[in-house]
């Protein structure tokens, strides 16, 4: 009995229940919302069959239904039940656009590239941002601080797709530093994946512009948050006491100021992960970088319902997982936070 109670009140168990509930709600909402969008891919396809091959409406409809493996006459509620039942089995369905391709296969082909480019960007942007923010706080009121803070405020105010377009125009077109049109896609044809220098160099050069865009658009936010967080921490009594204790400046900077100033930024770090994955739709479309965002953009254009549903779901799951990891890590970083209140 007490064992059952313990499991039920277990923090991770509760989190898992909440996560599943969230996924369910998001799956339901996306299912209905995307069906409310104007335009229906099957109708378009039926129209195509009729005009190109002179089929009758009924024949074309039957063929389309066979291809899309969806019962078109079924009411929405029945379609929903079928979708959910398949989803429970881990079946995302089959793409409308690339006929016969399972959506799961498409996701597994696109998702790693987005995780790669977004992950690297966050790493670079966060590291650089907190360093600059801390420097600005330590040199508060100096010219460095003024210039840094102004640039950071401007950068954090520009939407990332605008930065993407600017980079494309300036670096790709005006300066011609990067052959943009040759840089489409995630990996050059003929290069085998693996831990080879050629492969790593290739994927980084192709992800360069998206990564730059993410970094430039998020670094300002990190710099400003870290600056204000550091300034707050510098005013804490324990920093004064640490100085009175004669601790070396480096120890105070890293273990006393830095570590405490970082704590509040940690929550935003994981939020950013989800935010960038969702926002990658525009950036990846701009650079034709074939990650999950590009797949989302393409599938929306063609109303490829199964792919859209799957991508939205993946982004949701990514945010949930990132938040969960953040909570676990946070409790390790800040001893005042105890998971589950044991």
């Amino acid at each position: 009995m007490s064992r059952v109670k313990k499991i039920l009140s277990n923090y991770i168990f509760l989190r898992a229940v909440r996560a599943i509930l969230t996924v369910f709600i998001v799956a339901t909402l996306t299912f209905f919302i995307i069906r409310l969008m104007p335009g229906n891919p099957i109708e378009i396809y039926i129209g195509q069959l009729m005009s190109q091959y002179g089929m009758s409406f009924q024949d074309a409809k039957n063929q389309a239904a066979a291809l899309f493996s969806i019962d078109l006459n079924a009411p929405l509620s029945k379609q929903y039940v079928i979708y959910m039942r398949n989803l429970l089995r881990g079946d995302f369905g089959v793409s409308f656009l690339s006929q016969g391709t399972p959506v799961a296969l498409m996701i597994s082909a696109y998702l790693p590239w987005t995780i790669f480019s977004v992950g690297i960007s966050i790493l670079i942007s966060f590291t650089l941002g907190i360093t600059l923010g801390m420097l600005a706080a330590y040199k508060r009121g100096s010219i460095f601080d003024h210039i840094m803070s102004t640039i950071a405020a401007i950068l954090s105010a520009i939407p990332n797709y605008l930065i993407g377009i600017l980079l494309l125009i300036i670096i790709g077109v005006q300066l011609g530093l990067i052959p943009v049109s040759a840089m489409r896609g995630t990996v050059s044809p003929g290069i085998k994946p693996g831990f080879t220098w050629i492969f790593i160099k290739d994927i980084f050069s192709r992800a360069l512009l998206p990564i730059m865009t993410y970094v430039v658009s998020t670094i300002g936010g990190w710099t400003l948050s870290m600056k204000s967080s550091t300034l707050n921490t510098l005013g804490e009594d324990y920093v004064t006491v640490a100085k009175a204790r004669g601790l070396p400046e480096s120890r105070i900077t890293f273990a006393y100021v830095g570590r405490n100033a970082l704590l509040p930024l940690f929550t935003s770090l994981t939020m950013q992960m989800g935010f960038l994955m969702g926002g990658s739709a525009l950036i990846e479309s701009i650079f034709v970088y074939k990650g999950i965002g590009w797949a989302l953009g393409a599938s929306i254009a063609q109303r490829d319902y199964p792919v859209m549903q799957a991508v939205f779901l993946i982004i949701t799951i990514a945010v949930i997982v990132a938040n969960f990891i953040a909570d676990l890590l946070y409790s390790k970083l800040d001893p005042r936070i105890k998971i589950g209140g044991e």
Binding site: A242, A244, G246
Partner: protein, 330 residues
């Protein structure tokens, strides 16, 4: 034999802010003798904390020593603290003069265990033998009546305010400093915990030969712990003397007012006294005695010249033109 260990000579400390220069400490001369307890008392903004932090040069970034010397006599040498480089200061702090702060609750880094912070302190002063530091830390924590094994592995938030203040006091004794500065050591604590800390400080005073400076607005704390008392007003010492002189024979109207303003349980609220007016603006100081506007003894001279400290009894100094008329009728 009383030997001086610290000699503050004509010290001026200022803070610069948008409105101008705040003259927080104005020409303080003060000696601290070996093994004595000196209390610095005064109301908020009188410059007592500024004086205390100036001794270890831990003023906020807007503050600076305008003039004067802080001479520390230890290890057979004399050092002018006000001339120390950052590196010299770092080695000097906590090793020679340790300071216990008012904010017991926030004196510790929340993400490091007590042990890590004790070891940090030892290592900063070149003691890196873990076992040696641990033994010393455990004996000190036991000395301040804490359970060493439990406390040493705790995070600060797992300890109560009183326990944290004890840990900080224990940590302040870690390197056997010659001087301990305590800035409002009991202010943030409840009344019973205050009592315990006072008892602890008395024990330390009896056991160890170190000199202490108490900074407090709490006269009862000064009366219990101090050998000598310096009363500060508007950045200057207005009266200095033995604890008996200050409490039984005060010669400055401000000291008198402070004593009269202390509530006692038996007297009720009937005769609770408060000094009229408010402390002066330390940016635009008026000539004359700074206390004159609030003083019931003032005359025309008081508003023109500022009185200097004069000796009115053995080792009893007061900065007041009319000290002869004060305190006799109390």
């Amino acid at each position: 034999m009383t030997r001086e260990i610290l000699n503050i000579e004509n010290l001026f400390v200022e803070y610069s802010n948008i409105r101008g220069k705040v003259k927080a400490v104005r020409g303080v001369n003060l000696k601290l003798y070996k093994g004595e307890n000196l209390a610095l008392i005064g109301e908020s903004g009188s410059g007592k904390t500024t004086l205390g932090t100036a001794i270890i040069r831990l003023l906020p970034s807007s503050g600076y020593i305008k003039d004067g010397r802080i001479v520390y006599k230890g290890n057979g040498n004399e050092y002018d603290i006000s001339k120390f480089s950052e590196k010299e200061l770092r080695q000097f702090r906590w090793k020679e003069i340790a300071m216990v702060f008012q904010s017991a609750l926030n004196s510790f880094n929340p993400v490091l265990k007590v042990w890590d912070q004790i070891y940090d302190t030892a290592r900063a002063h070149g003691i890196s033998n873990r076992n040696f530091v641990k033994e010393r830390a455990i004996s000190l924590l036991r000395y301040v009546q804490l359970d060493p094994e439990r406390v040493i592995n705790s995070y600060p938030h797992e300890l109560s305010g009183g326990m944290r203040q004890r840990v900080l006091i224990a940590m302040s004794l870690l390197l056997e400093p010659k001087i301990l500065i305590l800035d409002e050591p009991t202010t943030a604590l409840d009344i019973l915990t205050q009592r315990n800390i006072i008892e602890l400080l008395r024990t330390i005073k009896a056991d160890m030969g170190l000199s202490m400076i108490f900074i407090s607005h709490d006269l009862s704390l000064a009366a219990e712990l101090a050998d000598r008392v310096a009363v500060m007003y508007a950045g200057a010492i207005v009266e200095l003397g033995s604890v008996e002189d200050i409490f039984y024979r005060p010669k400055h109207p401000y000291t008198l007012g402070l004593i009269k303003a202390v509530p006692t349980v038996t007297a009720g609220f009937r005769e609770l006294y408060s000094i009229p007016g408010s402390p002066p603006d330390l940016i635009n100081l008026t000539p004359g005695c700074k206390f004159a506007p609030r003083c019931e003894y003032k005359n025309s001279v008081c508003e023109k010249d500022e009185p200097m400290l004069v000796e009115v009894g053995q080792d009893h100094f007061v900065a007041c033109f009319r000290h002869k008329e004060i305190g006799n009728g109390r």
